[in-house]
Amino acid sequence: MARDNGADDISLKPVRRIVVGTLAVVLFLFFLVWRIDSPRVERFRAAVIDQIMPAFTWVATPVTRTARMIEDFQSYTRIYEQNQELRRELQQMKAWREAALQLEQENAKLLDLNNVRLDPKLTYITGVVKADAGSPFRQSVILNLGARDGIRDGWAAMDGIGLVGRISGVAQKTSRVLLLTDTNSRIPATIQPAGQRTMLVGDNTPMPILEFLEDADLVRPGDRVVTSGDGGVFPPDLLVGQVTQSPDGRLRIRLAADVQHLDFLRVLRSLPGEGITEPGTLVVGPGVYESTVSQADGALEPPADAEAEDG
């Protein structure tokens, strides 16, 4: 027995080395391919997660529920303070409610006066947060919405109140939301009363930094921050949060969304606005403009054709 084992070991050693070497080379090549052609491998990753997610949901749901129940139970211990706090907040809210009602009426009147049509394309899909990135160095969550629900890369995700992040990576049944707090997140934004343009830069803390401010003196803590829609990244005027100043003197943003407890997220369907590249396209549609130009240039097409195109 002993001799057999020993002989086995000796004869197996080179084989083992070859196996380990091959594995190492394969892993390194996979990493290199990811580094060179990241989108393709990320799609592969999304597909893997897509396959795992049903099984994961079975495991995760009871555990998550139990953990949330324990969390809720712990909150009983400070129920009195909470009650007081809620009363105070309710008092303030009543005042705000009055203000909101008045503003709503005024707004309705003004919209009516202007005969404004709100953009009907800005609808949303609501999804459930299924998992997070599982690392303190990466901030992203997985939603149970995917390509089959029409989700596309780059769309904005909000909780009930404010912006949370954007879709980055879509698989068939799941998609990943890169949170604003991730170090890879860069969002163009506007600071409300001053109209200052800025960039929200995530740095893995609860409050992203405001960078590239033109004039920091015009910005005060407490100002509202909304998306600016620059670069076509997001639809404009989505609420993000409030300006605040961290102890080290930097301007940061306190997010309106409750990033600690994400449960349901809304993904806004935003279709790209029509770009105006040439002066003529502003007045008539791009197709019409081109056909008139080609007619003027060549003047060969019969007019019946042009009419058929228009129709």
Partner: protein, 179 residues
């Protein structure tokens, strides 16, 4: 006899796979999003190191590579990098297994701690080498230290919870207790 040994090895590998999947899924639970919180230990790595020292025969290198690659994919890490480092680390440990075999626990812990720190620091440095976004150094060093510190705790849990002991310590099957 050989069948019995194979069955036990297979059971050990299955237990490792089960524990590894539990660790990965537990980290993915949508509970703590709070950014900037202190990172915990890299339990999967420490678990693998404990296993390599205690039951090297149960853990084929392919299993380590596949498990870590799966974790890389799910946890949004650069795919393949941690798997490669873990594979090389465990192989290095295996080649030194005659040194860890009879050593007192303090020495074993020291070797494991150095290996864990080495793997994690190499991982961090390769982020620089391949121009990837680098996690913040302070938090990362904290997680290196806490991973090294968590080694005896995981050893204890595996020993008394799942019966993962050193080969040839007292139960006979493993590297050659019965010879």
């Amino acid at each position: 006899m050989a069948d019995a040994i194979n069955a036990i090895r297979f059971r050990g590998a299955a237990l490792y796979l089960f524990l590894a999947l539990t660790v990965i899924f537990a980290r993915m639970l949508p509970l703590g999003f709070e950014p900037g919180r202190l990172p915990g230990p890299d339990i999967l790595l420490v678990l693998t190191i404990v296993w390599t020292i205690r039951r090297p025969d149960d853990l084929p290198p392919g299993l380590v590579a596949v498990t870590f690659h799966f974790a890389d994919l799910l946890l949004m890490r650069p795919p393949g990098l941690m798997a490669l480092l873990a594979l090389l680390g465990t192989e290095f440990l295996r080649s030194r297994s005659n040194q860890t075999n009879g050593a007192p626990f303090a020495v074993e812990w020291l070797i494991a701690a150095v290996l864990i720190a080495g793997i994690m620091i190499l991982y961090y440095l390769s982020h620089f080498l391949f121009a990837l976004p680098v996690p913040s150094l302070g938090l990362y060093l904290f997680s290196v230290v806490i991973s090294a510190v968590s080694y005896p705790f995981l050893t204890a849990i595996l020993r008394w919870g799942f019966g993962i002991r050193r080969p040839g310590a007292d139960e006979g099957i493993g590297a050659g207790g019965q010879l």
